[in-house]
């Protein structure tokens, strides 16, 4: 894979659930480069999850273009999907499988060799700390454990782009800190991370860039390292609130 290719290019993406409804995502443009961590901020119903669902192939988009690691999602969906891993905000799936069976299923889906998957599962289990519970049915897992196994499944093929929907909700503080550190090192290794969050502190701590979506429209896209210089009077939270003053879901 050419390292100069952007991890994610979104051109004029729009999503309308039906012809009478207001656009859930309206003319969104976004480019994420390798090595970047990009946080999507927005109120409930702002369009973050819809955007992520369009990027991952869950929802067909009404207009626009999504190119993931050089592959057009519409024209070459299978190739594009090989290059990203996705963690949904719903973890109550595959509950009849055991943790290791789920990881094997994900590895099969991405064509990971037996040797690679064994090493990767060991590495991820050390990070997320499921221990022996990895052999138990997922239905026996707590909410946090389900989230961990979903994260492990999304990383089993070492994706170039890691997409997460509200990844920190439900994680205990120690695991959340470990995940944050892992995200930083994962991006440093040349991969890209895009995640949605309500947690402004975690975005500020981990991300290189923050994108604010409000009523389906991208209102802001800024580099966090220069945020303080550009907005000396405000912190990120008050800035976010000022930009989205008229509230969330309508």
């Amino acid at each position: 894979m050419d390292n100069n290719i952007d991890a994610l290019v979104i051109n004029h993406l729009s999503k309308q659930y039906n012809s009478h409804a207001k656009k859930a995502v309206d003319d969104l443009n976004l480019t994420c480069k390798r090595g970047q961590i990009v946080g999507l901020l927005g109120h409930n119903g702002a369009g973050k999850s819809t955007t992520l669902k369009c990027l991952t192939g869950i929802l067909p988009y009404t207009e626009g273009e999504v190119v993931i690691n050089g592959y057009d999602l519409h024209a070459e969906p299978v190739k594009a999907k090989h290059t990203f891993g996705f963690v949904s905000d719903r973890h109550d799936v595959f509950v009849k499988m055991t943790g290791d069976q789920y990881l094997a299923f994900m590895a099969d889906a991405y064509g990971v060799t037996k040797k690679e998957r064994l090493d990767k599962v060991e590495e991820l289990n050390a990070l997320f700390g499921l221990g022996d519970r990895i052999h138990d049915p997922i239905s026996d897992y707590s909410h946090g454990m389900r989230q961990k196994i979903c994260m492990m499944g999304s990383l089993v093929h070492q994706p170039l782009l890691w997409i997460l929907d509200e990844p920190m909700i439900g994680l205990d503080p120690a695991t959340a800190a470990k995940v944050s550190d892992y995200m930083l090192s994962y991006a440093k290794a040349g991969n890209c991370i895009l995640f949605s969050s309500h947690n402004i502190n975690s975005v500020q701590r981990i991300c290189d860039r923050a994108v604010i979506i409000h009523h389906g429209i991208k209102t802001d896209d800024f580099v966090l390292s220069s945020f303080a210089e550009e907005h000396p009077e405000e912190d990120l939270e008050s800035y976010f609130l000022s930009r989205t003053r008229d509230g969330g879901a309508q």
């Binding site: 669902k53 067909p60 190739k79 799936v93 595959f94 590895a107 099969d108 889906a109 991405y110 064994l118």
Partner: protein, 561 residues
């Protein structure tokens, strides 16, 4: 509305099928109508057959001496014993759901309702449910019996209503004693795929045995016109002994027949009061423990040895996922295997009945192939209905799979192969059985197998695409699809129409090939053209329906519930 009334209305609302819960009127009218027609059809067949059975049984003589009064008592005792067993089973299931499986309970106990109000609302709901189900079974049995025996009068009608009101108390009393051990065993079985499979085999075996007994009777009825020969001296002695000891059914029988009324009323009311009282106390104790989370059924966790993670191709992996998801879910395992296991037996008995019926109507005609093919297609249609929920079963998992690098054909192909596995085995077993017992030749059985297989493929392709276009995702706490939806109804209807059309044409062809007149034209059509040609044509049409716009339809699938 009182607190109990409020809770009770919520219980009733959540128990209604979604189609009846909607106020918009955009409900599944077709599915509801079809269900009503099917229930009415089943009831009509039951009334017809049970009526004939009652008439025949009342005519049974022992040592050539007729004794209608004794036969009435025996028959009523047996019928009420069966009703009592069914009502207890329904009661156990009702308590089980109300106490252990009602997800709303965990929310309601956090709300400002007293424990007593919640308990009373649950108890009233279980009783109402029991009352409706009891009436559904008791009314057809009683009125068919009374009408056939010619003893319909005001007393009997009144007693029928009394039984409908009292039987739920008695059966719930017994059910409340059984519910805790039943749930503990159920939990233990549900956690083991092997135990679940064994349990299903045992249940299916029992059903198979019952089916075979019923069909033996029906076949004898068709063959000889009477079944009195089945009730020989030994059988009758057994029935008489059973009826005199079938408590509490024999008291209900006496009550209905107006014999020992005072004693029967006393025993029934006394037993109902005691059992229901004890049962209520017991259920209240269990309820308190459930609310306080004092009941633990989980077995101690065993240390598991890590298994090697096997690498599979995407298709194998998806197929393995289908088996894992279904075989570890007792509801789905039952749905997947139930009709498939019973199908060969049903085909055997129905083919036997068909051959007796056609022989008596048409004389010696070569219609074995037509009958066997029609019957196998008919039951095959019912077996394949599981594929009508191929997408809906997955719920949100369908969306997660969409984010993975699988082609739509691979995802849906695995689902269809999964359904096809049981379909092919049950069709094969059915054809082997019908050939082995001489209802058709082995050559005809091979042709029948090919024809049924083609129709099965057509049905699976059609059902899967239809479910992809119009998925019905479950909103139950466990995410399981528990009731038929319009896709299931349409798939059954189309399958039945195709089976009847092919069966009728094959029958006309068989008759036309040996008889003159109008049917000669059918006799000139090669039967392979009908048996294999039409299913092949249907498979072609289904394939076209399946593949046209597949990628677009798969991309548009949205499982949000």
């Amino acid at each position: 509305m009182t607190r109990v009334g409020l809770l009770l209305s919520e219980q009733i609302r959540s128990a209604l099928p979604p189609s009846l819960r909607k106020k918009s009127g955009k409900s599944n009218l077709f599915g509801t109508l079809l269900t009503l027609v099917l229930v009415a059809g089943i009831l009509a067949v039951f009334v017809l057959l049970f009526g004939r059975f009652v008439g025949t049984y009342l005519g049974v003589r022992i040592n050539r001496i007729p004794d209608v009064a004794s036969r009435q008592f025996e028959l009523m005792s047996m019928a009420y014993f069966a009703l009592f067993v069914v009502c207890v089973a329904v009661g156990v299931s009702g308590f089980c759901h109300s106490l252990f499986e009602d997800s709303n309970l965990t929310i309601i106990i956090t709300m400002p309702f007293s424990g007593t109000a919640i308990f009373v609302a649950h108890l009233i709901w279980v009783y109402l449910r029991q009352l409706i189900i009891t009436a559904f079974f008791v009314l057809p049995v009683n009125f068919t019996f009374l009408a056939t025996a010619g003893i319909v009068n005001a007393y009997n009608v009144l007693m029928t209503l009394v039984v409908c009101l009292v039987l739920p108390f008695l059966s719930l009393g017994v059910a409340s004693i059984l519910v805790l051990p039943y749930y503990a065993i159920k939990r233990r079985i549900a956690t083991s795929a092997v135990a679940t499979a064994l349990c299903i085999v045992v249940v299916m075996g029992a059903f198979g045995y019952l089916y075979s007994r019923v069909f033996e009777v029906v076949c004898a009825l068709l063959d000889t016109g009477k079944i009195t020969s089945l009730f020989n001296q030994t059988t009758m002695n057994g029935i008489i002994a059973f009826a005199s000891h079938a408590y509490p059914a024999n008291f209900f029988a006496n009550l209905m027949l107006g014999r020992d009324v005072a004693l029967s009323v006393g025993v029934i009311l006394g037993a109902s009061a005691v059992l229901f009282g004890v049962g209520t106390l017991l259920v209240r104790l269990i309820f308190n423990k459930v609310v306080n989370a004092d009941l633990v059924f989980a077995k101690p966790r065993k240390h598991r040895v890590a298994r090697a993670i096997k690498a599979r191709t995407p298709f194998e992996s998806l197929l393995h996922k289908e088996f894992s998801m279904v075989l570890r879910n007792s509801d789905y395992t039952y749905m997947y295997f139930a009709t498939a296991l019973v199908m060969p037996l049903m085909v055997y008995y129905t083919s036997r009945m068909g051959s007796i019926l056609t022989a008596s109507l048409l004389g010696k005609m070569p219609v074995g192939f037509a009958v066997c093919t029609f019957v196998t297609m008919l039951y095959g249609t019912l077996t394949n209905t599981f594929c009508s929920t191929n997408i809906s079963r997955d719920g949100y998992m369908a969306l997660t799979v969409k984010t993975l690098p699988f082609r739509p054909e691979t995802v849906l192909g695995a689902k269809m192969v999964f359904c096809f596995v049981v379909s092919i085995l049950s069709i094969l077993a059915s054809c082997v059985l019908t050939a082995a017992f001489g209802f058709q030749t082995w050559g005809e059985a091979i042709m029948s197998f090919v024809a049924c297989l083609l129709l099965a493929v057509a049905q699976i392709l059609f059902a899967t695409k239809l479910d992809l276009k119009y998925p019905h995702f479950s909103n139950t706490p466990d995410g399981n699809i528990k009731e038929a939806n319009s896709t299931v109804s349409v798939v059954i209807l189309v399958g039945l129409i195709a089976s009847f059309a092919i069966g009728a044409l094959l029958l006309l062809q068989a008759v036309g090939s040996t008889q003159g007149q109008l049917l000669t034209v059918f006799g000139k059509i090669p039967r392979a053209a009908i048996a294999v040609g039409i299913p092949a044509l249907l498979m072609g049409l289904s394939s076209t329906y399946f593949f046209v716009g597949l990628n677009k339809r798969y991309a548009a699938l949205n499982a949000e519930v």
